[in-house]
């Protein structure tokens, strides 16, 4: 019970463990009625909604809200009232005179502590663990403590109270954290602070001292307090600890002059001679080479614990040691990631070991400086120079930063993070050092570095802003807002100013806010909420003074950007599919990532898949993708999460975009980050990316209100079976087919949800993670290894449920496998689908067989070559099975051969087709011979059908006599069968008689041929009498043939009447039927034309041939060989008629 509830909750996006659910339910029972947070927060009568949502919201813990603040979900909040959002700016001017009216363009604001983004991110915990090797204790001979055990032992032995002492075991190393505090490092102040906190918490160091490092002047120097630029100046030698027990850890971005000119080299050499030394590179590793701290991987071998890095033995990982030498004192360069730090910590702490470590590459000549000095001259020119020198991403980032400047470093980082990939912190550094920004605080020394404000000149700003659309800026602000909302209470803070009528400070109201804070968030930040209406007119985000028209937002919109929801959705985002969330998609939740790899997430799937959250995303080119990431699962079980992603990616790769979405990207790193897999978004209209995402089976059924048109059902059936057959041919078993896993476009069907698929007969170890309803999985199948037959079961269950319009187990109300009464669908097809639900997997048809069945039922073009190959594989498999157990598999095998033979024939592969047909006959004969009754069902019927088929194939191969023998035998069987059961076998008999008649005519036995076809016509007429709803196409076919036979005997008048009747029947067929038999229709038209022309009625003949062409055109005259033949024949008749007409005129 509990499992089912948690599963339902997980599927609706609320991941709860059992304990959490139980807690929530316990609380719900304890809460006094009408006093739950939800009840209080909604004014509407909460009786019903409360009952529904109590488990979610009433338990503050269960709701996962880290606060007591009942924060309604964004969507709900917007519909409930008029939530106001207040602009958040990075800087403000304190108002000099409180009584004076605020100058135009300025509004009051109050300071808040806005949450910052963490620099170490989710790796914090593991980073802490990676430092464990350093947590060693060593006896300190200077301090003694009582050794309790030995004292007790001594007293017990001697009886004399005496004490035994031992050296205190103290922590091993002291840490000197040296923070490069040059101006570019204000961006990394938070990193330095995080590293410090991490080191202090690690419990590994005797003490942690922090120094500032000045690398901007020629000789590096230390200060006692970083970023303050005052305090005592120390020489770097102050950190040289002769005992070797001080670990020097430098945090830097390698921009300072001293990193390039050798100044820092000398310093680190000195430190590296005394004790362990390392550098933490703040920049992403791709940029290391362009800074003063480049690195190369070397193989490092140590011989003792700790000790100066100079003692390290460094060799090239590949080349022999005498070829390459490492000439300087090695200094490892670390990225602030758990993996890098763990390697290093292990090497430092182990008594001897070897590892590959990036070492500071001093031999590298200093590459060109990234600083572009653009202070002088025209701002536009400076921007131009920046644009040339900087990367495209940096330029875009600069525009986004300029839009919200003046900024403080945390805001710059937030904007960069919101923009996401492909921008990274390196691009931010390009912007920061690009010469366009200048500090605003002359007295900066007094402020904390994360309070320092930077700005662009007005000219530079307006040039930069022209590079991005206002919509993009809005989107970034929204992304920043989401990040801030998600981080409240869980992150370090930085000061910012939020527009508020009570404020004493003033902010520029020109719309430079980097985020918008809602009242709920403000309350948590200690700002009282005022009336709902924002008092500040800053929400009008027009920037008239910058000469930009922002027509899409509306200059007169003073109500508030957030409030004008209509304007936002209809005008601003009308072309942004992610904002106008399509059906089934909702806005991202605060805990959702904003970016995964190069994909920016736009929406999350409303119908949650358990554990795998699906997002709608977009890459830098605007390609819409669906990204699936096991976010909640990852935090609990990263290994499973990665395995799921890998399996899904493997399957998508194998499917190569057919029958499944095309793989766009995957990330399953062994450490560190959330794994994800991105696939091309499947759109409703084929390749039209502007159409909404394709619906799944469930949605389709809803759209059609439970009844699906036959044509659509056949198309979906064909697409689904083709996709499954393809997967089986490529060694995959989907294993989790369900309505939501089947996406339907207007062209094909794509399967999704491959995360637990069986690859190469190896079942996924995590099937229990994504449980499947047993509606689509035969109970006995779930226990053992999954086979393609399990998928076939699911396909059958799915399609039958789909057809019945109810997502329930189709067996539930049809305990007998009676075919569903569905007028549109051929009973044969229904029977085939029911066979998919056989308990014995071996008795189920193969997926390839299903493809054939659907292809046949939909009368469409013959299956393509790939499908034939799939069936061929199936045939081989079934042949082996049948050899072992003919009674079980024989019938299935014979039918498969039959299908196979037809498919081969449609490909023009006559010999193979013939062989298959012959084998089918043989198998059927063998089966029948085992029966007592020579007409035992269903073997005799199958034998008759296969004989008839064999005769057709023989005829095609030009082996007329054998063909005649076969069809005669078939006719004999059918005659008896028809006698026993007219309803079931009349049609078969009629078709065989047609065939027999053709063969006899071919052998010149015209009268026998006529006799046969006349019997066929009689059968047709009797069928039409018995069943008025019968379609009559077989009668028409027989009549056409009768016409031919009569023509052979030169009984023209009778022939004309027969064919004319056939044409009439064809013409009256309902359009779907007509489409199925269009070739026969065209043929009868042609025949009648010839007959009429012979009778001298040229005009009518020409009209009929043209009608034949019309039929050809309507049904796509290309395709199979038969169609081509008919087309050719029509053409010949027409030219012959035109010739006749011309000659008639000539006379």
């Amino acid at each position: 019970m509990i499992s089912r509830v948690t599963k339902v909750l997980a599927e609706s996006g609320v991941e709860l463990s059992h304990e959490e659910l139980l807690d929530a339910m316990w609380l719900a029972g304890k809460l006094p009625r009408d006093s739950g947070p939800l009840a209080r927060s909604t004014s509407v009568s909460a009786a019903t909604s409360e009952r529904h949502s109590e488990p979610h919201h009433d338990g503050p813990k269960a709701s996962k809200a880290e606060t007591a603040e009942p924060a309604p979900e964004p969507a709900a909040a917007e519909s409930m009232g008029e939530p106001s959002a207040r602009p958040l700016l990075a800087s403000a001017q304190p108002s000099s005179d409180e009584d004076a009216q605020a100058p135009a363009g300025l509004s009051p604001a109050v300071a808040v502590r806005a949450p910052d983004s963490s620099t170490l991110g989710a790796g914090q915990l593991r980073l802490g663990k990676s430092l464990r090797p350093l947590r060693q204790r060593f006896p300190d001979r200077r301090q003694q403590e009582l050794d309790v055990t030995r004292t007790v032992a001594a007293i017990a032995d001697t009886g004399v109270p005496e004490t035994v002492t031992r050296a205190v075991r103290t922590r091993w190393l002291s840490l000197a954290l040296v923070v490069d505090d040059g101006v570019s490092m204000v961006l990394w102040q938070r990193l330095a602070a995080d590293v410090r906190a991490l080191m202090e918490r690690a419990g590994a160091f005797r003490d942690v001292r922090v120094y500032g490092l000045d690398t901007r002047s020629g000789t590096p120097s230390l200060r006692t307090s970083p970023y303050h630029h005052r305090g005592r100046i120390l020489t770097p030698e102050a950190l040289c600890d002769p005992t070797g027990n001080t670990l020097v850890l430098v945090v830097s971005d390698g921009v300072g002059e001293a990193w390039r000119d050798g100044g820092m080299r000398r310093v680190t050499d000195r430190w590296g001679r005394c004790g362990p030394t390392a550098i933490i590179q703040a920049l992403p590793s791709r940029l290391w080479a362009s800074t003063g701290i480049g690195a190369r991987r070397w193989q490092v071998t140590t011989h003792r614990r700790g000790g100066p890095t100079r003692d390290w033995h460094v060799t090239d990982p590949e080349l022999p040691p005498d070829l390459v030498r490492f000439n300087s004192v090695p200094v490892p360069v670390l990225a602030p990631t758990p993996a890098a730090v763990a390697d290093w910590a292990w090497l430092v702490a182990s008594p001897g070991g070897t590892a590959l470590l990036p070492l500071w590459d001093a031999g590298r000549p200093g590459s060109s400086r990234t600083v572009v000095d653009a202070r002088d001259g025209d701002a536009a020119e400076a921007v131009l120079r920046f644009r040339e020198a900087a990367s495209a991403e940096a330029y875009r980032l600069a525009a986004h930063v300029a839009a919200v400047s003046p900024v403080t470093p945390p805001v710059m980082r937030l904007v960069q993070a919101a923009l996401g990939s492909p921008t990274d912190l390196g691009h931010l550094m390009e912007v920061f050092l690009g010469g366009l920004m200048h500090g605003l605080d002359a007295d900066g020394a007094d402020r904390l570095p994360h309070h320092w404000r930077f700005d662009f000149t007005d000219d530079a700003r307006s040039v930069l802003l022209s590079a991005v659309s206002p919509r993009e800026l809005l989107r970034t602000a929204e992304a920043v807002t989401r990040r801030i909302e998600a981080a409240v209470g869980r992150a370090p803070v930085f000061p910012a100013w939020v527009g508020h009528p009570d404020g004493a400070a003033v902010i520029d109201d020109t719309g430079r806010s980097f985020a918008w804070l809602r009242d709920q968030v403000l309350t948590r930040l200690g700002i009282p909420s005022t009336d709902a209406r924002p008092a500040v007119p800053v929400l009008d985000r027009t920037r008239a003074h910058e000469g930009e028209t922002r027509d899409s937002i509306g200059a007169g919109d003073s109500v508030g950007f957030r409030d004008s929801a209509a304007a936002r959705t209809d005008e601003v985002y009308d072309d942004a599919p992610g904002e106008n969330q399509p059906a089934g998609w909702v806005e991202l939740l605060p805990e959702d990532p904003v970016q995964l790899g190069r994909f920016r997430l736009r929406a999350r799937s409303a119908r949650g898949w358990p554990h795998l959250t699906m997002y709608l995303a977009e890459d830098e080119d605007g390609t819409v993708a669906t990204v699936r990431a096991p976010a909640p699962l990852y935090s609990r079980d990263p290994e499973t999460a990665r395995a799921l992603v890998r399996t899904e990616a493997e399957c998508l790769t194998r499917m190569r975009g057919t029958g499944a979405p095309a793989l766009l990207g995957v990330a399953a790193p062994t450490t560190g980050e959330l794994p994800w897999v991105a696939a091309r978004c499947v759109h409703r209209r084929g390749d039209d990316p502007s159409s909404p995402p394709a619906p799944n089976l469930r949605t389709i059924l809803d759209e059609h209100e439970g009844t699906v048109p036959e044509e659509l059902f056949l198309r979906i059936g064909l697409g689904l079976t083709e996709a499954v057959a393809l997967a089986h041919a490529r060694g995959l078993v989907h294993g989790s087919l369900a309505p939501r896993a089947v996406l339907v476009t207007d062209r094909d069907v794509r399967l999704i949800g491959w995360a637990t698929a069986t690859v190469d007969r190896v079942d996924s170890a995590h099937r229990d993670v994504l449980p499947l309803s047993d509606t689509y999985l035969e109970a006995s199948d779930s226990g053992r290894s999954l086979t393609p037959q399990s998928d076939v079961y699911a396909v059958g269950a799915l399609l039958l449920a789909f057809l019945s319009g109810q997502w329930s187990d189709p067996r539930a109300d049809n305990s007998e496998q009676g075919p569903l009464t569905n007028p549109g669908i051929a009973p044969v097809l229904l029977r085939t689908l029911w066979r998919c639900l056989e308990n014995d997997p071996a008795r189920r048809p193969s997926a390839a067989f299903l493809v054939g069945a659907f292809a046949h039922a939909s009368g469409g073009p013959a299956p393509g070559p790939t499908s034939v190959e799939l069936v061929a594989e199936d045939v081989r498999r079934m042949r082996n099975a049948a050899r072992q157990n003919m009674s079980t598999y024989g019938l299935e095998f014979a039918r498969l051969l039959h299908t196979f033979s037809n498919q081969l024939a449609s490909q023009g592969r006559r010999e193979e087709s013939l062989a298959a047909a012959r084998e089918s006959v043989e198998v059927n004969q063998e089966l029948l011979s085992a029966e007592d009754d020579a007409y035992s069902m269903p073997f005799s019927a199958d034998l008759a059908a296969s004989l008839s088929n064999l005769s057709v194939r023989l005829g095609e191969a030009g082996r007329a006599r054998e063909s005649l023998d076969a069809v005669s035998e078939a006719e004999r069987l059918y005659r008896e069968l028809k006698r026993r059961d007219f309803g079931d076998f009349a049609l078969g008999h009629s078709m065989t008689l047609n065939n027999l008649s053709n063969r006899l005519a071919g052998a010149g036995r015209h009268s026998e041929a006529l006799q046969a076809i006349e019997e066929a016509v009689l059968i047709g007429r009797r069928r039409a009498e018995l069943d008025t709803s019968a379609v009559g196409d077989d009668l028409a076919r027989s009549l056409t043939n009768l016409g031919s036979r009569l023509g052979d005997l030169r009984r023209w008048g009778e022939a004309r009447r027969a064919v004319a009747e056939a044409v009439q029947i064809y013409g009256a067929l309902p359009s779907e039927e007509a489409r199925r038999v269009w070739m026969d229709h065209a043929m009868s038209l042609n025949n009648l034309a010839v007959l009429l022309a012979d009778a001298g009625d040229h005009d009518d003949a020409l009209r009929l041939v043209n009608a034949s062409f019309a039929v050809l055109d309507q049904n796509g005259g290309e395709g199979s060989r038969a169609a081509l033949e008919i087309q050719e024949r029509s053409r010949r008749i027409r030219s012959w008629l035109e010739d006749l007409a011309a000659r008639a005129r000539g006379q």
Binding site: E19, P60, K61, A68, L125, V152, E200, R201, G489, D502
Partner: protein, 336 residues
């Protein structure tokens, strides 16, 4: 408030030029010796204890103000018998919450366990004084041949004490868990889930041995422990405080009820001042409050700093808001 008279004959070296009343100048820096009566301490710096009617000595109750939503979460934790993980900015009253709960529910003194990077779970469970026991055992055996009870040498530490089986649970404050070792939360989790621990020194005793009475935080109280096993009957009220920046293992978080204390807004600040210093304390402190609110974000200030400033103002220090705050509201945060 205070009535200390300046002693006669003192030279008014620094009279009222700075605005302070005479009782402000306790230390004058003039080298003269005086008998100064100390002024009343701020309520939050009083260390004498109140005696209740039952003769129990409890600390003076400190006023504590909390919003209804936060109360909701605290109740959820109490109902669920789960630890309450409190986060929030410095000075938002994380630790005081434990005292407030203990006071309001009459759960006695708060058991405090301040965590640092050296803290281990063992430290928080119990201490065993082996040497003391041996020494006294030797002495007593020499005297009369009896052996002192082992229970005297075992003293339960805060966590251990909280897990003693009692009719009413105690309040355990685990302060600044974020300062602790990475593994500490997981170690704690085990004890919280089991609700029991074992004093290994006592497990050696034979099954027939009578319960050992071990010492608790109260000098007069001992509790019986059978075969070394301490198991709570009511799960203690556990309040864990942490800086919100620190991540904890998901398993740990799942088993805690989380409470994030919001920053107090202006109205709440006024209430806090009034509660601590009396309603008239608000009379002429508007400028202080305003200045505090403006500088709070940038200066990373804590609420108790405002209380200090108001207390000083009430004590007669007549500095303007800016200089007073300069003196008292020094920045809490550092650069790195």
């Amino acid at each position: 408030m205070t009535t200390s008279e300046p002693p006669a004959g003192t030279s008014p070296v620094l009279s009222s030029s700075n605005g302070g009343g005479d009782d402000w100048w306790l230390f004058r820096g003039d080298g003269e010796r005086r008998e100064v009566s100390f002024p009343t301490a701020p309520p939050w710096r009083r260390f004498d204890q109140q005696e209740t009617t039952t003769g129990e000595r409890v600390p003076y109750p400190r006023p504590y103000l909390i919003g209804p939503d936060e109360v909701e979460v605290v109740n959820a934790a109490l109902h669920l018998r789960r630890p309450l993980l409190v986060t929030g900015q410095p000075g938002t009253g994380k630790s005081s919450l434990a005292h407030a709960i203990a006071h309001e529910l009459a759960l006695g003194c708060v058991l405090q366990w301040p965590v640092n990077s050296r803290s281990t779970l063992q430290d928080a469970l119990y201490h065993y004084d082996a040497v003391g026991r041996l020494r006294e055992a030797t002495l007593q055996r020499d005297a009369d041949g009896t052996e002192p009870d082992i229970g005297q040498y075992i003293r339960l530490a805060p966590l251990g004490n909280a897990l003693v089986s009692r009719e009413r649970p105690r309040v355990l404050l685990i302060d600044e868990l974020d300062k602790g070792d990475v593994d500490l939360p997981n170690d704690l989790l085990t004890v919280f889930e089991e609700g029991e621990f074992v004093i290994s020194e006592l497990t050696r005793l034979p099954a027939s041995h009578a319960p050992v009475h071990v010492r608790t935080d109260d000098l007069d109280e001992t509790v019986p422990v059978t075969r070394g096993r301490v198991r709570c009957s009511e799960f203690p009220v556990v309040v864990i405080t942490s800086n919100g920046e620190r991540e904890f293992p998901p398993a740990f978080l799942r088993r805690c009820v989380r409470l994030d204390l919001p920053e107090p807004n202006e109205r709440r600040l006024r209430e806090i001042v009034a509660a601590h210093l009396g309603p008239d304390a608000l009379d002429d402190t508007d400028d202080l409050l305003r200045e505090f609110l403006e500088r709070r974000a940038e200066g990373e200030l804590a609420t108790d700093q405002l209380l200090n400033a108001v207390f000083l103002r009430k004590g007669g220090v007549n500095l303007d808001a800016a200089s007073l705050l300069q003196g008292v509201l020094h920045r809490l945060g550092g650069a790195v």
